[in-house]
Symmetry: C2
Subunit: 362 residues, 2 copies
Amino acid sequence: MDEKEIYKNCTRYLNYHPKKTIKEELNELVEYVDEKIHPDNYGDGELVNNFEKQMAELLGKEAAVFMPSGTMAQQIALRIWCEKANNLTVAMHSDSHLNFAEHYSYLYLHNIKPVLMSMPDYTSKRMLTPKDFENLKVKPGAILLELPQRTLGGQLPSWEDLEKISKWAKENQVPLHLDGARLWESKPFYQKEYADICSLFDTVYISFYKGLGGITGSILAGQKDIIDESRVWQRRLGGNLKSIYPYVLSAKFSVEQRLDKFQQYHDKAVEIASRISKIEGITVTPNPPHSNMFLIHFKSDIEGIKKQNLEIAKEHKFLLVNGFNKALLQGFTWSEVNIGDNALDLDIEEIEKHFKFLMSNN
Amino acid sequence: MDEKEIYKNCTRYLNYHPKKTIKEELNELVEYVDEKIHPDNYGDGELVNNFEKQMAELLGKEAAVFMPSGTMAQQIALRIWCEKANNLTVAMHSDSHLNFAEHYSYLYLHNIKPVLMSMPDYTSKRMLTPKDFENLKVKPGAILLELPQRTLGGQLPSWEDLEKISKWAKENQVPLHLDGARLWESKPFYQKEYADICSLFDTVYISFYKGLGGITGSILAGQKDIIDESRVWQRRLGGNLKSIYPYVLSAKFSVEQRLDKFQQYHDKAVEIASRISKIEGITVTPNPPHSNMFLIHFKSDIEGIKKQNLEIAKEHKFLLVNGFNKALLQGFTWSEVNIGDNALDLDIEEIEKHFKFLMSNN
């Protein structure tokens, strides 16, 4: 068996939710859907309208619109805010998803430029703080904050810091937009309602696949006039689809299935992090994890550790680590861990055993 | 019963395909899908890759990419062509879908400006001709042609005119893009293979809902380097979704179900047009229809004819006309007819009878 085959044959996984076939996923939706409902017409229909209302309420905002993707939702919010401010600049972390995963769409499509957050420690490897905003020499048209920040292992600012940043934005009349791709994952850390977290922001984007495991899709929520205008931009961008019900249905189903489970995902992440961070050569960031995810730094080169990971997959049909990356720090390798349904029933002793084996060749 | 109820209770329709519930639509896909196939990962997967290849072949192009919408696909093609030409202008009909239905996205998102086609008769109510291009005083970065043109009742240029426009574009080194939202509907008129029609164009967009009746979705096809670059733009626009399989599956299913039926739709449209155009006060444009659609001008005000249409719906549970619009010509009202599965088995005598009744109050 080659590497691909071995991984494909695994039956247990540390990360994410169980994978399904297309037939299984669609069948769930067929079972779930009210049999009288008809497809929406360009986003207009009972299913979509009601779900948008439901999400607006959950997030404590006046209105919400369902969009095919967060990439679309976020650039729309930024474009509207920047045009209102007559200031086409956005302050955001240099490791923002908009940069490394979206090809700078805000720049290529909207002529919006990023504001350099001139951190005194010139590093993109920490969270933005209230101080970073106070130090700004130029006033941005909008601010984008990602909660939790994926590139930093799902770190979250303290509630006090978040309030301070929000206060700075209000005092300086700069709209604050939330990249809440993993907002659901933030609740266990803040122990607050979603609406309370979102009340610090002017507009909010949330995602239905990542943690929730839906097929795809997002919501942009905020005051009514902004959401109304965002629908025009959604059409311009080609996101006002003839019918979007497959994604809305899946989003609604996923919310019902998993929204209550993020505390469990978090608790399991904390348990795993606590246990494996005691193993020689393993460092967890952040420890304890703020959300359901964290980074692991292995004191090992990539090749050695990859071999061990493959061995575990072969012996135990257990996929421990999904991918390895070279760390900046010489001799180290890093990986991302994302806890979902797959890990909930895994025995902590077994997880620890496999991580020990992973490091046993060093 | 109020108006809405009466129309809702209709069981027969002149236009389009039968409407289904969400459950029915998804169930068809569950029955259709190969049970081993897994969801695509950001458009990468067996189902999507194979369908893209299949469509590229059908259209006679090197490569193809599936996009959520034509609005997205077309602006991407235009952006790439215009940037290559270092000329951010596009020549198109002033009644292009990009204007009346897409909020000028090419201008708002790409800073592409339309080239005024200075027709000597200053009217947007006829097709563009080779002469219109020969008369251009400025060289556009790209040309967009819509086949057939919906706002003109699905008119098509003659094959000779189409060849001449294509030749002009080649000689002047201006890329020619096809808005083929209804390309399938053009085949009966030209009696040529899709690949032959598309060979006159550099890039081609096709749609899977309109005539084919899929849920949503489109294909952009062309030479490989253009399609590769278009995938970057798709990501920027927020159209590279986590999984797009519901739309691809539905598109593939619709192609199998309906691609062979466009000759029948066309023939039925011609039959209906021929019959009803003989009724006093009814004019059909174009007559005979070029595709499966045409416009009807009624010599009547809107209110009177609406009442008759409602009466037919009430008496016969037959929805004859979907909507009425005020014509420029005083005292006239116009409607669009789109022939799909619903009309195929309808008796021509009954259709004629209802149209006669529609006009009987004038």
